[in-house]
């Protein structure tokens, strides 16, 4: 299972693809179990040059019945920095945030290599 993410151009906010638009909460992200659909969405996202920077697909893992990013880096992007629990998306709190926090599973995400270029 995958999701599509990037950073919003105007403010750098981490965003997730949902049906052609972008949402700020990972919990609302569109999930792709079909590789072709995922890649088509990624191609479409890449053409949105004035909306999002460097969109890429990330691998997901199941946690507490919800999906979460497989890699720790992607979970940090979906949550916020660990030294300031009131900064970033995690400040919202709630079940979805908690599920992200509890997710484990740590194999390298497919998103990592692309990130190095940024």
């Amino acid at each position: 299972m995958k999701a599509l993410t990037g950073n919003r151009l105007t403010d750098g906010e981490v965003v997730f693809w949902k049906a052609g638009a972008w949402v700020e909460r990972f919990a609302e992200a569109e999930l792709f179990d079909d590789a072709q659909k995922a890649e088509a969405a990624e191609a479409s996202a890449k053409s949105q040059q004035t909306v999002v920077v460097d969109p890429y697909l990330v691998d997901l893992i199941e946690s507490d019945g919800l999906w979460a990013p497989l890699s720790y880096r992607e979970r940090l992007r979906a949550l916020g920095p660990t030294n300031h629990p009131h900064h970033g998306k995690q400040a919202e709190g709630g079940a979805a945030i908690e599920a992200l926090r509890h997710a484990s599973g740590a194999a390298r995400s497919s998103g990592r290599v692309k990130l190095i270029k940024r």
Binding site: N7, V53, Y72, R77, P81, T82, N83, I116
Partner: protein, 551 residues
């Protein structure tokens, strides 16, 4: 502080206006991200994990209260009310919006500040001794030369698209507080045998994947020949530095590949062709020197009764005085180091309120002079000993009086995976764990000087290679692991640390450091710092102790 005149101010205003235009073109889709990225990097704007990060230049680590207040205000208005001081004495804001950056640059320009060339493949902030102008040890004020280099390197038309980033550090004292020997160019001011001033020029130091202590390329360069020689170095690098592989593109790779002797020969050859025409006129150096605001010192005696009485009355103040003050060249004065390493806090971070406290203190007690060190602390370089109790009280109330400068909890840590898109692991929680382990100030003083430096990835922004204990975050199958090194130094006795053993999981790092300290305390001889004991015993007793526990 160098006083900007009309020309300097107009330069900043024009650069800010240029960037405003460029941002507009990017937002309108007239330039692609690939074309825009080098432009925004040359204005210090990164795209990180959570938002854009803006790295504001603090040239040679020097600012005045007005500038510090502007940073505090920008942090409040455009960020989350705090900033992070870096190992290159710049300031980073981690929650910036691209769309706000033009306004931020305008506000910075209004107080003679900027973000020019704090990133990108160009000449970066030239750093200098944070005690410049206050220490008796220096043979000249390195800030004068840093400012001259800042101007010469700003929007240099030939050297703005180098193979890779380029960092210069200048020191003028025997004690090196800038890590000059691990810079692309380290300039060490020296007196020649005939009494004239010159630079020992070190080229090709660096950290990262391939750390090097740089070799001396020129033993003595007369100071008035600095700029023609710099031009020669940069030109040789621009032409011959590798451009095929980002990880082999720094000048240190070129120097190592050619060998120091051949590299020096190529520079001399180019230098001869440039000739004195490439130098800055002596009148300009004199003008820059004169444009630094004069510092007025009162004539005082060495001993301050107020200071002595305060120490006797308050053991906490005495501890602060023991650890956080440094000797000043003038009788009755001291250098105050402000620790941004409160136990359990993020190393190098300061809130807007804290910045304002420092600004107020500099204004009231400190000759309007504030410095940033490459160890992520602040300095008030000119404070009367008589005023230190009042300064201490204000710092303490603001959480800025942790008496741990140079001690084990005075840790350098990069932002790491909590913020940085390049990181493999977090650095901040490791620093916090270690600091908490050594929160007992008596124990910290017993241990003495121990420089721990933590990087979240091999790019080494935390300078881990030159830590007495260096800690490098690595990704082992998606988990955060940490590689420890021992015996590095960024001072005049520069050295790259040696590996201790296999990487440790995050939860074991603070314990391992505790074990290392126990070994040191057991083994140490009279007067030895941790670094000295390590250099005498080698890694064996340390490795044995840390990995004997592992099962």
């Amino acid at each position: 502080m160098y006083q900007y005149d009309t020309l300097d101010k107009e330069f900043l205003a024009d650069r800010a206006a240029e960037f405003r235009e460029q941002v507009g073109r990017r937002l309108a889709g007239e330039i692609t991200e690939d074309q825009f990225k080098p432009i925004r990097l040359m204005n210090g704007l990164y795209l990180q994990l959570h938002a854009y990060m803006l790295r504001i230049a603090i040239p040679y680590g020097s600012l005045n209260p007005t500038q510090m207040r502007a940073l505090a205000a920008i942090g409040r208005k455009y960020d989350k009310g705090y900033g992070h001081f870096t190992t290159r004495t710049n300031l980073q804001f981690h929650w910036i919006k691209l769309a706000d950056t033009p306004a931020i640059l305008d506000e910075l320009a209004a107080v003679d500040m900027h973000a020019i060339q704090t990133s990108g493949n160009c000449i970066r902030n030239t750093t200098a001794d944070p005690y410049a102008g206050a220490t008796a040890e220096e043979i000249d004020d390195p800030r004068v030369w840093s400012e001259a280099i800042r101007q010469w390197s700003s929007l240099h038309p030939e050297f703005s698209f180098l193979p890779r980033k380029f960092k210069i550090a200048i020191t003028a004292a025997a004690k090196d507080r800038t890590a000059a020997k691990v810079h692309d160019i380290g300039l060490m001011l020296r007196r020649g045998r005939d009494g004239t001033m010159g630079f020992e020029v070190i080229v090709g130091g660096g950290l990262g994947r391939t750390p090097y202590v740089g070799p001396t390329i020129k033993e003595f360069l007369p100071v008035n020949r600095l700029f023609s020689y710099l031009e020669a170095i940069l030109r040789v690098y621009n032409r011959h530095g590798r451009r095929d592989n980002k990880f082999k593109a720094r000048i240190k790779i070129l120097v190592a590949a050619l060998g120091a002797e051949e590299f020096a020969r190529q520079v001399e050859e180019e230098w001869a062709k440039i000739g004195p025409e490439g130098d800055l006129p002596d009148t300009e150096i004199a003008r820059i020197r004169g444009a630094f605001a004069p510092v007025h010192f009162d004539t005082l005696v060495n001993r301050s009764e107020i200071f002595e009485a305060a120490k006797a009355a308050d053991p906490q103040f005495a501890r602060f005085a023991r650890n956080n003050l440094r000797e000043h060249k003038r009788a009755g004065y001291t250098i105050v180091v402000i620790s941004l390493k409160a136990i359990g806090e993020t190393p190098g971070d300061a809130t807007s309120e804290q910045m304002e406290v420092v600004a107020d203190l500099a204004e009231r007690y400190g000759q309007n002079d504030i410095r940033v060190t490459h160890e992520q602390n602040l300095v008030l370089p000119h404070v009367k000993l008589d005023d230190t109790p009042a300064v201490y009280a204000a710092l303490k109330a603001a959480g800025l009086a942790t008496p741990n400068v140079n001690l084990i909890s005075d840790i350098i840590a990069c932002p790491g995976l909590d913020y940085c898109a390049l990181a493999n692991a977090r650095a901040i929680p490791i620093a916090q764990d270690i600091a908490r382990t050594f929160a007992d100030q008596d124990r910290a003083e017993l241990v003495g000087e121990l420089k721990i430096k933590i990087s979240g990835c091999i790019n080494a922004c935390g300078h881990h290679h030159v830590g007495h204990i260096g800690i490098l975050g690595v990704d082992k199958k998606g988990e955060e692991f940490y590689q420890l090194t021992l015996g590095g130094s960024g001072a005049e006795d520069a050295a790259v640390g040696s590996m201790l053993g296999p990487a440790l999981p995050a939860g074991r790092v603070a314990d391992a450091v505790d074990t290392l300290v126990d070994v040191y305390l057991r083994e140490r001889q009279e007067g030895e710092r941790f670094l000295d004991t390590f250099r005498r015993t080698g890694v064996a007793p340390f490795k044995e102790a840390v990995y004997a526990d592992a099962d």
